[in-house]
Symmetry: D2
Subunit: 403 residues, 4 copies
């Protein structure tokens, strides 16, 4: 029935004026970096539940990421977290990844676990601590060089828990100065992605709480610094897609950490709570992918898409596959928006019809398209089922019982 | 292509084990009451933009509602707001509605516009004001009798703007006492629906802020009092479907006011901001529609579904049609959840598969099903387009151009 | 100057018509239970920073709690968390506590750390797990008997992370049934306190998300079941004091977990973020302490006040002292509200004057009153400074420097 | 007793190392602009309750503002809203204000009430509408010239209610272009204050939702463009004082609209809901008032403080007085923070002591200071009571009864 379903779908879309070859090409170009830490155990402050057999070192995580890429064809790179993924020989790790068919993606410095960082890292009141944090970031640049990664992805956990605890303006100046030191050491083809988060692990204030501050720092640093948007890092009610469109228009959107949340930074699977929000974000991105301004378009094409999820109770690798499929699904839908139709109604103030033109694409079931694309790529049409099937087979052959 | 699409869809669903006749029957039984006030001008505190030609009295609004029902087949009743819809002769109004093919739905007393209600109505510190408010509600019961309505729908706007302004516990006791007087006058086949809202127009506290209080009052009053859930009346992050399931299980869910919101009580069209949330609400309802416990099931079948939207910038009647279509669409999807599959995975702790089984139904495009159903009912397959087409024809024949 | 300040303060309050002896008596009667877990290390999901010298077992925590009580005179009981505070001989622990001048307060069963509880405890789909959880609660009742505690304080961490993961209504019924088994084993002078929390560690839904559900379960169980309000467990914008007043009026408010938060459940020190909110909560409580209805008044007098904070970055014992002082301060202010003045203005609809009458008491500096009270009790006037002074002395005598 | 209280207070503060003369001077320099619209009726979308005798034209509002200034000595300017305050002869209005002892403050263009603005003003898809909006702003500049006002204060109500309704990036470019036209016409001593608001009256997106966008536009425009912070215009959980400190450090904070809110943009009286938040904002400002960097300090001294409240149920003029008193009170407290003490603890990572040093100033009762200051200024010590007293006298002499 898949074939029949695709024929029907293809015809319907062509009738709507959609260029299906172009859609499929853009869809095939969508690459989603997976996080090494997503393959290991994670939890809440109350507990970490252990999943049997999950990898605990960089090699194991890369092997897992490779499995994901083999099944989805969409996850060719793995982001590392340092020192969680520290190894003695990063060149060897790079070669191992290559052998597995993947590459090393963004390098993520960890500035929140050392005891010295209890009250801050790049913004700590003690210059020695600030310098240590800068040094750690510089060593991440070295690692990036060694593994051929072109991106340093900074999530700064700095902040305060109480009014008065820290001096906001001094911390701001320290952050600026610390970032300048890091930025100055980037190779010319490297990018610094600056993430923001309005809450947690610091509760009263975070030093990079919103896109505005991340953007301002990135502007002051220069062209190699961009903003990274984590979809779970905003106050309730925030229009994330509007922020995304603003950054796109300013050519300052460097990447995404995709996940979904209900209330705080829940780090749930993409599309599990509010799929329409992710779709609307892709609507803004797709819009720039069809933009005449080459600078804006190529910047949009260079966005680094990453997952950043915590699989506290669900099986980790299939959860990552699931999210990749959801990202593909929602991106595919955004490509099926008839942009001329939308513009026509926007230009006439036809509120209802414009809304309908956008939402209409979301209502489509793109399964036939995704299946067809995967068949063309020699991939299983449903990578999730394929994974579960293999996994169960393996588990059974070991005489074990699944969960 | 519609026919081919439906054949394919029907086959796919049967293969999934879905009883399509049952789905269609439940779908045809879905009735959505439209609010008279949704056909007239509304606005924000900053401005009310006027739409030309909108009805200003009860007769005009009923005529408009009738048009909606003719096109959708799903909106046979109109809720009235008193005194906005006050007429000299309610019997005549009832007959007019019947002639138009619709009936009068819930009667909504207005307890917020009289000058006396500035500091409260049923909870006012002045006994005279409380009595006036009770009297107004009793007159609404009289109207209900006259128009054959079986539901009084109370949204209480009472609350305070400042700490200290009112005595919470006295107001609680006054509310209890006022409601008892009203409840005592209901006919035995009438229901009192108690709505809650955690914010606005009072800003510091509202006397009925959440489902818990509405439920407690309803419990104390008796079997004819139920809770009404307005989907826009909750704090951010609230799991509305969980509340719905709780009330369903307690047989205390009387009705819905459907709309959608981004931040506060935006009263936007259903499904325009977060369609998945509405779907998940219907998932809970559908679950009870297949329940063995007859008491719970029949209570769920008696839910009164109403729209409560404010069309501040969009054309009103087509906005109502749009929302009806969305409610149908999301209810239809919820009926396509394979409940055995979900239960199977829930019982094994298969988090990923259970989530996938629910969301999978949401991902389906139910357009073929809805079109087929409407064809069977002799309705236009796309009531929105049908309305716009007629409306434009009319507008053009008048030589004018709208907007 | 303290003496002069108090004379002046005392005269000012008497001029306002305040009965200062009564205020002092009520203030002296305020007892705040401290949590054993507040004396040990805690952290976020990202890290736990270790404080040198913090106690790791029940004995050490009780010793610390005893120090706090000696300095404040307001913290005579320590809440235990089982199995964190498991010991071989609870009778010996009780005697140790007595020797230290404190008693054992509420017993808190831990239903979230065992591997079996990954998908729930009292609401788990597997009956065996539910039974284990009930058994654990019953063993906590045994411990309570052994240590002469009269309260079991249940925070249920159960919930789901994804739509479809669990069956809301089945879980509701399992919870009801599990709680009934526990409730049936309470001694007649024991209370079951039921806490609610709308988010975390489960992210999509929690089985006890709000006061409404906690209250409904407590009602169904009986007179020995009450609701426990944790000030950090509500959605943003919630009027907590209104909920408190409702529960007080229903005689179903059993206790508090005090803390403060900026966004989520930050578990920061009481009064550190929004002191006015705590004051307004005490305003509702004070109101009932002056109530003529003896049943309501005595229920309010029996409220168990507890701290529940996580001291992630600050020194733990002084943080607890700080919070106790803040609770006293804010309660003291609430006792200085001239209730006749407030009622006078409420009854006339004088919004501004009523607000001013309440807030005016908050604006008072009650330091002279608190110092006078502590002097009468033979306590240091500033227990925080006294602690820091002693602690520094000790640290210095050891030749070390703290932090 | 006031004299004795002040002596005591003064001595206590001096003992803490506070320079009380400096505090009083800074306090006397605090000027708070009142909004003409605050003196007239306002309401919610549900109703506007009318207060008898409130002024309806600019002259009446200025007269009322003059009364407020006479009593408080702190409100020498009145902001106008155009066209609400349109008069034939603005020079005459300026002279009238001068005769009344006040001046005209910021000019606020209204870009949300004209029918043309239903779908936007400066960002409307129709160039004609955009030009009209620009023209209106230019006419406001003319008015500013005529009345000697030096500030144009722009709150842009533009936004969309539905996904797809508008093109985010086109609107961004139109806004940039519109603002440039306005900015180009400013006199060299005029400022353009750019306000942001994340929600309402548009519900899906607003074109200026947050400080980040307002700041970016202001940066692009130039030195005469600054950001205006309305304390009620942020998502829940936002750390407003952090934003304020950032803008101060960038010398881009132009002004404030003070008010308070519980959930959305409630426009309640300053300090009525969360006084600590306002205090913490003033803590950041005070910090810069003691800054060595002259550029930052003088920019902070030039902040325009304005009230922006809606008095829906309370008497309007006394509500404004009340808010002025609260602003003074909270600013006074912030000046009593011992900044050396705070810095000492910050530099040592003494979290608890630093928090305590800041909050300690908030806990002080500054009534003696405020009374002393007002006596020095020849003002009534309690302007609110003075107003109510006069007002009651007037009302009684008219034979009327006060509410």
């Amino acid at each position: 029935m898949d074939e029949q379903a695709y024929q029907l779908f293809d015809q319907q879309q062509k009738n709507r004026g959609i260029n299906m070859e172009d859609v499929k090409e853009k869809l095939k170009n969508l690459k989603i970096e997976t996080p090494s830490w997503g393959y290991g155990d994670s939890g809440t402050r109350f507990n970490v539940f252990h999943e049997e057999g999950v990898p605990t070192d960089a090699y194991g995580k890369i092997a897992e990421a490779s499995r994901v890429h083999q099944l989805t064809g969409a996850a060719p790179a793995v982001a590392l977290h340092i020192p969680w993924d520290q190894v003695d020989n990063f060149t060897a790790l790079k070669h191992y990844a290559q052998d597995q068919g993947v590459t090393i993606g963004a390098i993520n410095p960890n500035l929140f676990q050392d005891d010295d960082y209890k009250l801050g890292s790049l913004t700590h009141h003690d210059e020695k601590v600030r310098n240590n944090a800068v040094t750690h970031m510089l060593s991440c640049i070295d690692i990036a060089r060694e593994v051929d990664s072109k991106a340093i992805s900074l999530w700064l956990a700095d902040g305060t828990n109480y009014p008065g605890q820290g001096d906001f303006r001094k911390r701001k100046q320290w952050l600026q100065s610390s970032l300048e030191k890091v930025y100055g050491e980037l190779d010319s083809d490297m990018r610094l992605l600056i993430e923001y988060k309005f809450f947690e692990p610091a509760f009263y204030h975070t030093d990079l709480p919103d896109w505005g501050m991340a953007y301002d720092y990135a502007n002051k640093l220069g062209n190699q610094a961009d903003v990274l948007v984590d979809t779970g890092h905003h106050p309730q009610g925030t229009n994330i897609e509007h922020i995304v469109s603003y950054l796109l228009d300013e050519k300052k959107l460097g990447g995404f950490h995709f996940n979904n949340r209900k209330y705080a930074d829940d780090d749930l699977m993409v599309g599990a709570i509010n799929p329409y929000e992710i779709f609307l974000t892709f609507y803004q991105i797709s819009d720039v992918l069809y933009e005449n301004d080459l600078g804006k378009r190529s910047k949009a094409e260079d966005i680094i898409y990453m997952l950043d999820q915590a699989h506290n109770i669900e099986a980790k690798t299939p959860a990552i596959i699931q999210s990749i499929l959801n990202v593909q699904r929602l991106f595919a839908k955004s490509l099926l928006i008839n942009r001329e139709e939308v513009a026509y109604h926007q230009n006439r103030g036809n509120v209802l019809q414009a809304e309908r033109a956008v939402r209409g694409a979301f209502e489509l079931d793109v399964t036939p398209l995704l299946h067809a694309m995967r068949e063309e790529q020699g991939l299983p049409v449903d990578p999730f089922e394929a994974y579960m099937h293999r996994h169960e087979a393996v588990t059974e052959s070991k005489g074990g019982s699944k969960r």
